[in-house]
Symmetry: C2
Subunit: 410 residues, 2 copies
């Protein structure tokens, strides 16, 4: 089985909204062994939706449409799908009442145009939306599955996970590819390729490389008999882990922040941060992790020399002598945070996020990171390229990786 | 003139990489009055690229392809475009030398497969890539413009801005739609619609609504004679501003953080932060702005009660009595940050980011924000829905808006 995605919405074609739905659906389908053949983003207009859908139905067994299920007149996905198959739209009483209740709760009368959202394509299954007023729909015609999902990611994702994915896999005769993604950091794509070449003839499932910022993902994909495929993929994983060691930080849905957090929790270690040029991004990444309060004491964004002195206890003389952007100051920041928060680990980051050089003439992208551990200190100097945001992100990733390696290497 | 976008890359169809290029190009083209008709994401395979391109060429005068210009065998965009028009690929000596120099600088011999990136379609213009080894290309055939751009956003964007946009506008007889986007915050889409309905018959350029998280963007688009269109759009803008007041925080490419930063700088005001549940996100958003060090003193992420007590001087008794998640603690955090950083404004945010309720039984999404100003204090209680990340983002946005309104209302 392969899938086509059709994302409906003028706002996507004006770029005012990032189309995160395509990425999410592609990721989830791909990892269950259903490749996405093509994604189309089309306007809120019945003809465009119809053309894209007809094209998709010629190629793929599964077509998922997102968006165009809202209450306004330019929400036309239902209408387009119904007309292609010559089906009627009928009102779903239960959903109508449900919506009226939804608005009543908020003390608002349901605007009349919301009635539209209770219209369902005859013969389709209504997919309950627990997070909004637009239900999804699943329709089976001529051996094809057509799924309609609302545009808001938070609503779409929940419906897909709970009501669509299982059904799709069932239709796919429960056939699943065995897929494993190994996530590498701190090693370039070409170096990675070389190390893997050095393993000699590769008669295991094929590997593909996806460079992603500072990371490279290795995808191993085994098809055919579930058991054999899994065995082969595991064998490939073992070979790669032996060859690449802790350049592999995790796999599949794991994130660098998540893996680092797990290591800290497992080892009952706590973390504190002193950020200058990364400006709180590292703290944000860590606190995105549910339960981070178990190990994260907190952080100080010391965006001025005064803050470095008053809050982190960096010696004025040191700033004077070495400058704000220096290895010594990074170390003093980390030491300060470790002391103030009384944590096992502390990170100090100071540098120039750019766009321009700083007052002292340090170039944008020059960043110093210090890691204070229970019993040793590490330092890294980075010379990063890219825009301000990219420099912040890269610095935060490398800091996370320093913590991860420090703990896992003990 | 209208445009089609074709994004090439298996990694986009596996969802392992978010397709930010489509959004960026759509945004830039749309705002110069060139609507994007459709976007296709296709695999790294010549047939798919060809089919998408043939389809696009039937509909649009401008077709932009991104990706598939790398050095590996599965980078096939050049080949697909050349073959459609029956054109040859020839080596560009200058670019070859440029690449060899690029690698020499890094002390690496140029891998042989990079030669591929110096292959250009005959009759096309090479678009210099200052940020990587893959040059772009622009080709004019049968009254159509075909543009090839590398996949990495940082490279693609720079080439597009410096070498593509002007040329495209020129080809479009310099015709530009007059477009203005007014960005609103703190007011729902339906309420906005109602306020605008109340303005009565609307004979000015049409308005479209795009809800985007906590924001709603109002797009006004005037076509035809430049002067008349501009006048009409300005008139519409004035009407909307009169009706909506400071619900409109900015327009076009302005961001809430950027507008707030500008207000702070204009008024020589400084800002400090005390974040708990937002975990450093607000600090990150502010420090994304170049020059934020002019007004941003720094922040404290007080992720534990101890940190609130030791770093922000929140009274233990207060935490005891009111609990970490309370208006009083938000206020004490803001007051602490204002004192410590000696700033004009300070924000205190405390709440429950979720997923679950906190130990005290406060539900996820309950957030208190306090703003300490030069001469008054404000409070907000939020009951937010959505995932952990969404709750953090919403809280950070609302905090920014509190600062913005406090300054602009004086």
């Amino acid at each position: 089985m392969q899938a086509d995605l059709i994302c409906v919405g003028n706002e996507l074609l004006t770029g005012l909204i990032e189309n995160s739905n395509a990425g999410f659906l592609a990721r989830r389908l791909w990892s269950t062994g259903i490749p996405v053949r093509e994604t189309a983003v089309v306007a809120d207009d019945e003809k465009s939706i119809r053309e894209a859908l007809e094209r998709a139905l010629q190629e793929s067994e599964l077509v998922i449409l997102t968006g165009g299920l809202g209450p306004t007149e330019d929400d036309l996905t239902r209408e387009a799908v119904a007309s292609i198959f010559g089906l009627e739209l009928t009102i779903d009483r239960n959903w109508l009442e449900r919506m009226e209740g939804f608005f009543r709760q908020r003390g608002i009368d349901m605007p009349h145009n919301n009635r539209k959202q209770a219209m369902v394509i005859e013969g389709s299954t209504l997919l309950e939306n627990k997070r909004g007023t637009a239900p999804g729909a699943m329709l089976k015609r001529k051996g094809k599955i057509i799924v309609l999902l609302p545009g808001p990611p938070y609503e779409m994702q929940q419906i897909f996970e709970e009501q669509v994915l299982k059904e799709v896999v069932k239709q796919n005769e429960g056939l699943l590819a065995t897929v494993k993604t190994l996530k590498c950091i701190g090693i370039g794509e070409s170096m990675l390729e070389q190390k893997i070449k050095e393993l000699g003839k590769w008669d295991l499932p094929p590997i593909s490389y996806v460079a992603r910022g500072y990371e490279v993902n290795l995808q191993i994909k085994g098809y055919g008999d579930q058991q054999e495929a899994t065995a082969a993929v595991n064998q490939a994983e073992k070979k790669l882990r032996d060859a690449l060691g802790d350049a592999i930080y995790g796999c599949d849905d794991e994130t660098l922040a998540g893996v680092t957090a797990t290591l800290l929790i497992k080892n009952n270690m706590t973390l504190a941060l002193a950020e200058s040029c990364s400006g709180g991004l590292l703290s944000d990444l860590i606190t995105d992790i549910p339960g981070s309060s178990c190990f994260y004491c907190g952080g100080i964004v010391a965006y001025s020399s005064d803050a470095k002195i008053n809050l982190l206890g960096v010696a004025p003389g040191l700033l004077e002598k070495e400058g704000d952007v220096s290895p010594a100051v990074a170390e003093a920041m980390a030491a300060g945070a470790k002391k103030i928060f009384n944590s096992h680990f502390a990170i100090g980051i100071t540098g120039v996020a750019g766009p321009g050089s700083d007052a002292a003439g340090n170039p944008a992208g020059l960043v110093y990171i210090a890691l204070e551990g229970p019993d040793k200190t590490e330092q890294k100097q980075l010379n990063l390229g890219g825009a301000r945001k990219a420099i912040k992100e890269r610095a935060a990733q490398i800091a996370l990786d320093m913590i991860r390696k420090a703990i896992s290497r003990g």
